[in-house]
Symmetry: C2
Subunit: 201 residues, 2 copies
């Protein structure tokens, strides 16, 4: 199978598991022999978005810029995995329409669960008004209505979400099936015997 490029676009609130899942997917696709690039928060802030803030205009510019780069990569045969909050539906759709193959993944998680989890302590600060313009608290987040995949990171384990995503990508022919697991010597002998019976070997 040729490496057909496409973009995987995670959207969801801060802490909802976008980057965690993106890294899992990246590793899985690499083991399947695909060329993969990840554009997540750190990479983007360092290399693409320096100087941008959190106004609607700057957020839109940031998302458009990530989408532009993702499409350049995808149309040259790479799989580009993007993980950005990307709160506005119209800009996500704009980015989608640049692409030939675009897989939007919504990491759904309730605000209660995120506040409970709060790995970076940001939700407490936002809810206390110590930081403002925080997506999902005092800044909008428009959940997708037509994402290719929705995973609920509140009720599912990471591996369940990963399985859902990989199954989708395989069913669409975007990634090859997982390499077969190593077989035991007995299993191999049994399969070989079966194939001989059927005149395949």
């Amino acid at each position: 199978m040729a490496n057909k490029g496409f973009t995987i676009w995670f959207t969801g609130l801060s802490g909802s598991g976008k980057t965690t899942l993106a890294k899992k997917i990246e590793r899985e696709l690499l083991t399947r022999g695909l060329g993969v690039e990840m554009l997540d928060g750190d990479v983007v802030r360092t290399n693409l978005s320096k100087g941008l803030g959190f106004s609607k205009e700057d957020r839109d510019t940031n998302i458009r810029r990530i989408g532009f780069v993702a499409n350049l990569l995808a149309r040259n045969g790479a799989v580009c995995i993007c993980a950005a909050i990307s709160p506005y539906k119209d800009i996500r759709d704009e980015v989608r329409h640049l692409h030939q193959d675009f897989v939007e993944i919504y990491t759904e998680c309730s605000l209660d669960a995120l506040t409970e989890r709060d790995t970076k302590g940001l939700y407490k600060k936002a809810l206390a008004g110590e930081i403002t313009g925080f997506t999902g608290v005092d800044d909008p987040y428009e959940a997708p209505e037509d994402a290719e995949i929705t995973v609920n990171t509140e009720t599912e384990s990471i591996d369940q979400s990963l399985d859902t995503i990989m199954a989708h990508l395989e069913s669409k022919g975007l990634v090859p099936p997982a390499p077969q697991q190593d077989m035991s010597a007995d299993e191999e002998t049994a399969i070989l015997a079966k194939l001989k019976t059927l005149n395949f070997v």
Copy 2:
């Protein structure tokens, strides 16, 4: 020949022929079956550099950003052609060091010739002090000392410069040779006869 990615980086003063040559090279590489992306002034301003100005810091950010994207493309098998003034040697070298294969092309042209040419009327304005911070007039341009290729667009025709560049890329094994020209029936007969004599056909 597999499509091995690399970056072609044009540097030179405004009006020195970077984009003109970049477009010629792009077309030539496309006819040779390579995947090519061009990051020139318009593309970059629209998609990567919105909000950046012309201070040293902003110029550096711009060049680093183009270099980051070029390297993503190159390491995924595309040829990325960049055409930006990129006046500072240290930042060009920083971008070079990101890359596995990097071809810097200096489009050399004297200020006299550029002022004479002045297709956009910018040199006259800069020399009259109507615009400031203009590279080569009142803002620095550090010419490369170790570019892979230098073309002098003052003394050479565009086709001469193009030939120089393509010859270099071919000699380094970065692009396949040009498709053979159509032969006349007589030439074909003569070559076939010769090959038969030599027992090749």
